[in-house]
């Protein structure tokens, strides 16, 4: 059951973090804030009794994605000045996002079918694993995911090779 207080703290962390990722001038600081948001989200998952997902979140977002981003920022950081370039505040973007949020919020609040269901039985990771690899389950998706990652691998290798005839 969700503990209200935990939700409030984590919510603020996420919103604050996201806001600063977007607005802070120095890209490196933005990366740090991104890590912070990722951790907060992982916490949120934990509280929604999705421990496994929380761990995956930490692994992927903080471990892989975060590190990669920081790594790339360091490589492409030509000079301190570049990072300091002032982020421009665009009115259009703000209004557009606001409208979008309003539309989604309206939809969520008005929707009748999003009613809370009965309390769920605790789900064991075993069924998740079995389902993942049963032919009726998600093995196909798993294979496609693997192909996706191969493509990413090929792309990364190809673009970073020096000789390219």
């Amino acid at each position: 059951m969700l503990n209200a207080i935990a939700f409030v703290i984590l919510g603020c962390a996420i919103i604050l973090g996201a806001f600063s990722v977007v607005t802070v001038r120095n890209v490196m600081h933005a990366a740090y804030w991104l890590l912070e948001v990722a951790v907060a989200v992982a916490g949120l998952y934990y509280f929604m009794s999705a421990e496994y997902i929380a761990i995956m979140q930490l692994l992927i977002y903080v471990g892989a994605v975060g590190m990669l981003v920081i790594f790339t920022v360091m490589i492409t950081q030509r000079s301190q000045v570049d990072n300091e370039r002032p982020g421009v505040f665009s009115l259009f973007a703000f209004i557009a996002s606001g409208l979008l949020f309003a539309a989604i919020a309206y939809g969520v609040i008005k929707s009748p079918s999003l009613v809370a269901s009965a309390p769920q039985a605790p789900m064991s990771l075993l069924t998740f694993g079995q389902q993942l690899f049963s032919t009726n389950g998600w093995v196909l998706a798993f294979e496609i995911a693997s192909l996706l990652l191969t493509v990413a691998l090929v792309a990364a290798v190809w673009w970073t090779k020096d000789r390219d005839n």
Partner: protein, 502 residues
């Protein structure tokens, strides 16, 4: 309604019906490791072509109305038709690359095979997650292909633009998908039909639609296409402009068929998108000087025609509209690929085509067939596509749309015929014309083998190669023949797709 209820959920122990995808994976792997394997990168493309051919044949003959993987993959007859068309396109592309590919094309053929696998899965997907995954698998390789010559700044810039915009729209799609998943409580298409018409569901479906529109480069979301294609090389664009778009098209039709009940409200965005497509696409293409950009806008216009049909709500005609849209999307692929493959060895600009009829008469003849088919001159399939759209449109009370289509196709005649005009009637600028250019395919045969001048891809823009291998001519000829034959065979193809009678 697509025959979902009619599908026999055969629990298929074996993997027979996803063998095509497996073959493609094998082809990709072969190309990746082709340095050590015989025939280097060109051999890889040839092997890939052979495997794609087998995949195409398998999909053509054995996939019939079967649900696999717990109905995650539903192989209806129209998905089968889409699969065959996509395999054909990839086959032509691979044969051309095998024959005339310049520089290191191993990675390119690998990526193409993977992208094709993604496309096949997407058209057969019966589950939301599988759909999203396959769409991503289909479009990711294309980011790389666009930026294939990473020494060319324009290529990378195109790739970046394509990447960012495509990821943005995919995220919209994911967000929409999450809500749809939330409301329908299941990810399988069968379950999605229970979606209610409440505002949240509509918004979610709209986001889903926007994602797919971006994949199909439909008008308001097509901005990436012209820049991306201009950055890339024509032979890459040949693939990028056809397979992912057609896969997106088939997915869109399948989604609309699934969400048929609620789609009535979404009819408006579809029609608006269709009108925007037709206007923006044709007008921008009119004054283009680069063939790739022109084909990009051409593609946008074609999507506009197809969307017109999907906007029909008159219950009696709506099912037929889907099948006609699918048929039309399939028919537009071959000519576009043909034109781009021809321009691949001539240089991207229209002016580079000058005097083609003297240098490569076979290619020139093929160009005429492609152009006439895209315009819609009777004997070729473009005409039948447009005829179906006209008839279905009139029947589905979309007469203003049909009139716009006729006007736009008249405008499209302008820029497609400019290619023919350049090929037949303009004199090439530079006086010297290599005498050795084979006059007819037969004489080319007499040339010694198909030695290809391997030319280091210099930083300069892709200047035309003088010596065109017979293999490339053969690929283009194959493409032209398919376009020519598909016209009269329209009826057979439609029955093969099990289109409901009128």
């Amino acid at each position: 309604m697509l025959q979902f209820h009619g599908v026999i959920p055969v629990i298929f122990k074996g993997y027979a019906l996803i063998v095509p995808e497996l073959l493609l994976i094998v082809a990709a792997l072969w190309s990746l490791f082709s340095d050590r394997l015989p025939g280097k990168s060109r051999g890889a493309a040839a092997v890939a072509a052979f495997l794609v051919l087998c995949a195409g044949l398998i999909t053509a003959f054995c996939a019939k109305g079967i649900a696999l993987f717990g109905s995650k993959l539903i192989l209806t007859s129209d998905a089968r038709f889409g699969g065959v068309v996509l395999c054909l396109l990839a086959l032509v592309w691979l044969v051309w690359t095998a024959a005339a590919g310049r520089g290191r094309t191993a990675e390119a053929s690998a990526l193409v095979c993977l992208s094709l696998a993604g496309a096949l899965l997407a058209t057969q997907a019966g589950d939301l997650i599988v759909l999203l995954l396959s769409l991503e698998l289909c479009s990711m390789p294309v980011y790389v292909l666009i930026g294939y010559r990473h020494s060319r700044a324009k290529g990378l810039e195109g790739a970046l633009k394509y990447f960012l915009l495509s990821v943005l729209t995919s995220l919209f799609m994911f967000y929409g998908a999450s809500f749809v998943f939330g409301l329908a409580q299941t990810t399988s298409f069968g379950g999605l039909q229970t979606l209610s018409g409440e505002p949240l569901a509509i918004i979610a479906m709209l986001f889903l639609l926007i994602g797919i529109f971006a994949k199909m480069s439909v008008a308001p979301f097509h901005f990436w296409a012209p820049d991306a294609y201009e950055g890339a090389e024509p032979w890459v664009v040949a693939f990028a402009a056809t397979v992912p778009k057609i896969a997106g098209g088939f997915v869109l039709v399948r989604l609309i068929a699934v969400l048929n009940a609620q789609i009535v409200i979404l009819r408006w965005p579809i029609l608006i998108a269709s009108v925007l497509c037709m206007l923006l696409g044709s007008l921008s293409a009119l004054t283009q000087k680069d063939i790739r950009r022109m084909m990009a806008y051409g593609g946008v216009t074609v999507m506009g025609y197809a969307l017109l049909l999907l906007g029909i709500t008159d219950s009696q005609v709506v099912a037929i509209g889907w099948y006609f849209a699918m048929f039309f999307l399939a028919t537009y692929g071959l000519p576009t690929m043909g034109i781009l493959l021809i321009s691949a060895s001539e240089g991207g600009k229209i002016s580079d085509l000058a005097g083609l009829s003297h240098r490569r008469p076979v290619a020139a003849a093929a160009l005429v067939v492609f152009a006439l088919s895209l315009i819609g001159i009777p004997p070729l399939m473009g005409f039948f596509g447009k005829l179906f759209i006209a008839l279905a449109g009139i029947r589905g009370s979309l007469i203003p749309g049909v009139i716009l289509m006729v006007v736009v196709s008249a405008i499209s005649a302008f820029y497609y015929l400019r290619l023919v005009k350049a090929a037949f009637f303009d004199q090439p600028q530079e006086a010297e014309l290599p005498a050795t250019v084979p006059e007819t395919a037969l004489e080319a045969e007499a040339e010694t083998g198909n030695e290809v001048e391997v030319e280091a891809a210099t930083a300069a823009d892709d200047e035309p190669t003088r010596k065109v291998a017979w293999g490339a001519e053969l690929a283009i000829l194959l493409c032209a023949i398919l376009t020519f034959v598909a016209g009269p065979a329209a009826g057979y193809l439609m029955t093969w797709m099990r289109t409901p009678p009128y």
